[in-house]
Amino acid sequence: MISLYRPGDSVFHRLPAGPKLLVVMALALAVSLAPAEPWLLAGTAVLVSGGYLLAGLGLAEAGRQLWTLRWLVVVMVVSQVFFLPGRTVAANVVRVVAVILLANLVTLTTRTDDLVDAIERALAPLRHLRVNPGRVALMLSMTITTIPVIAGYAAQIREAQRARGVPVAPLAFVVPLLVMALKHADDLADALTARGVD
């Protein structure tokens, strides 16, 4: 789900992270609040596609993102289709997918450290509430770094279980994953200390 930065030189890449985040947040809000009119939904699709083209990522990338969201779409449709009119269901799905694709457009065109810097600046007023924006920003970066690691652990455990012919049991999966995640957290804490973060 976490799409990482693709180097490029489009308008989108050059737009500073702060304003870009604000624009995308405003667009996401507009998309979420727009009435469920077919022409507005079509407009949303055009807007998102236009964004991907403008960023030089192409529609193929948008398509790839869409494909990773397929299960979300299935869950949304199945859970709503019996209770809501078809048009509302379509509108809900389009809204959620559009917002996620817009958010990914930001991560695809912004270096993580620029993004984190922008968030750090935005959080600066919270200093008065004893929130340390630097720490929040670091935590965000580390979360992004750690997700693929934990996913890797999950794959390792599945493989180990398959290799031993153990049937897939949720507990036998969650417990080792938790242990590995905690061990990883310990090691990462040492690495942070060693690199001068206290």
Partner: protein, 232 residues
């Protein structure tokens, strides 16, 4: 020579639960390449960790290049870089260049300076092509090179490496070892089970049961270690 001295005086490290990892260790080392050998649980990792304050001695004093790892921790960690065994747990930032740049934060450098230093450091370890790649897409050997790069970019005076080749295949071990032992100008403390690497150092110290039991020219120290292993 004295400015790169590592001096431990009567150091003991007790872990919670009563296990003593290092006992009454007194040693003075100022060679450029120092090998630390010994079996698992002999205290060599704990010794390495006291050198940058990851482990605080229960008694005794440590001076690394004149600094006290406990009281001058911040200064010392700029002076001492630490390379861990597991390449996966040393990567803090999402992409290669960002992770290297992470070591330079809060040093009052401009963005341009940081970018220039990162580019030079990645070039040195041969990772320039991966600057914007997700760090976790690298192979194990490349990750370890990145970890090394992230340490060297801070221009430490001493690099402590705790079994840096443990997770690597032969080719990558040689790459990392070559870098640490031959290319890098810094003083090196190399904790290793690979006795061929230990043999390439200027001095070897051997730990056993939390005590320093042997010290001197790597050749004879390693020979005695191997003989004792055969006897056991």
């Amino acid at each position: 020579m004295s400015e790169r001295a590592i001096v431990l005086d009567n150091v003991s490290v007790d872990y919670p639960g009563g296990r003593t990892a290092v006992r009454e260790l007194s040693v003075r080392l100022n060679e450029r390449r120092i090998a630390v050998i010994g079996s698992n649980g002999s205290g060599k990792s704990t010794f390495a960790r006291t050198l940058n304050g990851l482990v605080t001695p229960s008694t005794g004093t440590v001076r690394v290049h004149g600094l006290d790892p406990t009281r001058q921790a911040k200064e010392l960690r700029r002076r001492v870089g630490f390379v861990f065994s597991n390449p996966d747990t040393q990567i803090i930032m999402p992409t290669v260049a960002e992770d290297a740049a992470f070591s330079l934060r809060r040093r009052g450098l401009s963005r341009a300076e940081i970018a220039a230093r990162v580019a030079a450091a990645l070039e040195r370890v041969g990772l320039s092509d991966y600057a914007d790649s997700p760090a976790h897409s690298l192979s194990g050997g490349e990750k370890q090179l990145l970890a090394l790069c992230a340490v060297l970019i801070g221009e430490p005076g001493l690099v402590v490496a705790d079994e840096p080749t443990a997770y690597l295949d032969g080719v990558n071990s040689r790459r990392i070892a070559g870098f640490l032992l031959d290319q890098m100008p810094q003083q090196l403390v190399l904790v290793t089970h690979d006795l061929r690497l230990a043999a390439r150092c200027d001095v070897a110290v051997r730990f056993d049961g939390g005590r320093l039991v042997d010290q001197g020219e790597p050749g004879p120290v390693i020979a005695r270690y191997e003989r004792d292993q055969d006897l056991a």
